[in-house]
């Protein structure tokens, strides 16, 4: 395997510490992931003051929760409303808000998603099972710079009185990319 050969060569040259690679993998496999973004969304649903601050300066607000770092140095949160649905893509590579969502899934990095969602977002969303009403405009955010975007999905009906933890459980990764909606509680 080519990766193993490269790792071995760089380790022999004293340039890579295999334990550091283990540490990097552990962080992205076990510590950083969509649960971070879900907590941000749930807090925004539960607390209008937090939400207003989040929409005004997300980088600072999510950093207060400990979510900052590589591939998430400049964060913008965009809010879904009855009038507008937001979708995130990076057509040129695969930019994604790592500190909030972790490593992007395969479909986000796929040629099909990158090529199509800017041109036919409604057709792509339909493949994800999301059909938007005619009256709701779609805004696709193509992440061409170091700004990283997170969608604030609409809060589902029937969630009044839920705790932040209960609300966070309704927030899927896809809802925060805009290819899904928040889960409606049964």
């Amino acid at each position: 395997m080519r990766v193993k050969a490269l790792e071995t060569l760089l380790t022999e040259k004293g340039l890579v510490d295999p334990a550091a690679l283990d540490a990097i993998i552990d962080i992205y496999q076990n510590q950083v992931g969509p649960q971070n973004g879900a907590l941000v969304v749930a807090k925004a649903w539960a607390d209008p003051v937090f939400k207003a601050r989040l929409l005004a300066d997300a980088t600072e607000v999510v950093a207060e929760l400990g979510f900052y770092g590589r591939q998430g140095e400049h964060i913008t949160v965009v809010e879904n409303t009855l009038e507008r649905h937001n979708v995130i893509v990076c057509t040129l590579c695969s930019c994604y808000p790592w500190p909030l969502l972790g490593i992007p899934p395969g479909w986000y990095k796929s040629d099909a998603y990158r090529a199509r969602v800017v041109r036919e977002p409604r057709a792509v969303l339909a493949e994800f099972g999301v059909v938007l009403p005619e009256g709701q405009a779609v805004r696709v955010w193509d992440s061409t710079a170091e700004m990283r975007y997170l969608v604030l999905p609409m809060r589902p009906e029937g969630t009044e009185g839920m705790s932040v933890e209960e609300l966070a459980a309704l927030v899927t990764r896809d809802a925060m990319v805009g290819t899904g909606l928040a889960t409606v509680p049964q």
């Binding site: 060569l9 760089l10 550091a20 099909a112 800017v118 041109r119 405009a137 170091e146 700004m147």
Partner: protein, 224 residues
């Protein structure tokens, strides 16, 4: 004028295939590929824009054929040789011809959390933006790097020569077109520019649909 990575709007890619049970790293080597790339980046011999350009600069056929992490590893191997970190022979044989003076910069396990948490912000002090929110602008056409022929740029071809509106202003940010090619950071004001989908594609799925891009000031010209 563009390269194969610049695929926004392209036809012919088929449905978006979703694996609902996909683990973070589908194969063990995927995680190794990501980690070795980040660890090699910590040696400080290139920047984010250089490594992005290295992936884009893969041959058209390789870019299309390679999986995501194959692109990463191929681009990493190219960069390591281009920057003299390893020799072509070492790469071919997989055997070290000796230690490296860069070894003192090796990323150690105990520093990993701090280094990942620190990140590398691209905002800089720089000139104030000249375009106010609401101003009409037109993007550069063609979408080219004006510093280096065939070089890196972050203006997608599909949004080239199109009129849009300034949605928001950001601070000055490192200019990838210069920074990817060792020409300095050259920070410029960054804007989020809003385009009507119909202006980009000729027709939109719905009249009100829009696309935004984050674009540097030199990518834009004023529209009277």
């Amino acid at each position: 004028m563009s390269r194969v990575h610049d695929m926004g709007g392209r036809w012919g890619d088929g449905p978006v295939l979703v694996d609902p049970n996909e683990p973070v790293f589908k194969e063990d080597w995927h995680g190794r590929a990501l980690a070795v790339t980040l660890a090699a980046g910590a040696l400080g011999q290139w920047n984010l824009d250089t490594s992005r350009h290295a992936r884009e600069a893969l041959g058209t056929k390789d870019y299309t054929r390679f999986s995501y992490y194959e692109k990463w590893i191929s681009a990493l191997a190219d960069l390591l040789v281009a920057k003299g970190v390893v020799s072509r022979e070492e790469l071919a044989t997989g055997r070290s011809a000796g230690g490296s003076p860069l070894a003192e910069k090796k990323l150690l396990a105990e520093r990993v959390p701090a280094v990942l948490a620190k990140g590398g912000p691209s905002a800089r002090d720089g000139a104030a933006p000249i375009y106010p929110v609401g101003a009409r602008v037109k993007t550069r056409r063609p979408a080219r790097n004006v510093w280096v022929e065939g070089g890196h740029t972050r203006l997608p071809a599909y949004a080239s020569g199109v009129e849009g509106v300034i949605l928001s202003q950001h601070r000055a940010h490192v200019l990838p077109d210069a920074n990817a090619h060792g020409k300095g950071e050259c920070p410029e004001p960054l804007y989020t520019v809003l385009f009507r989908a119909a202006d980009l594609w000729g027709r939109a799925e719905n009249a009100g649909d829009e696309v935004t891009l984050d674009l540097w000031e030199s990518y834009l010209e004023p529209v009277a």
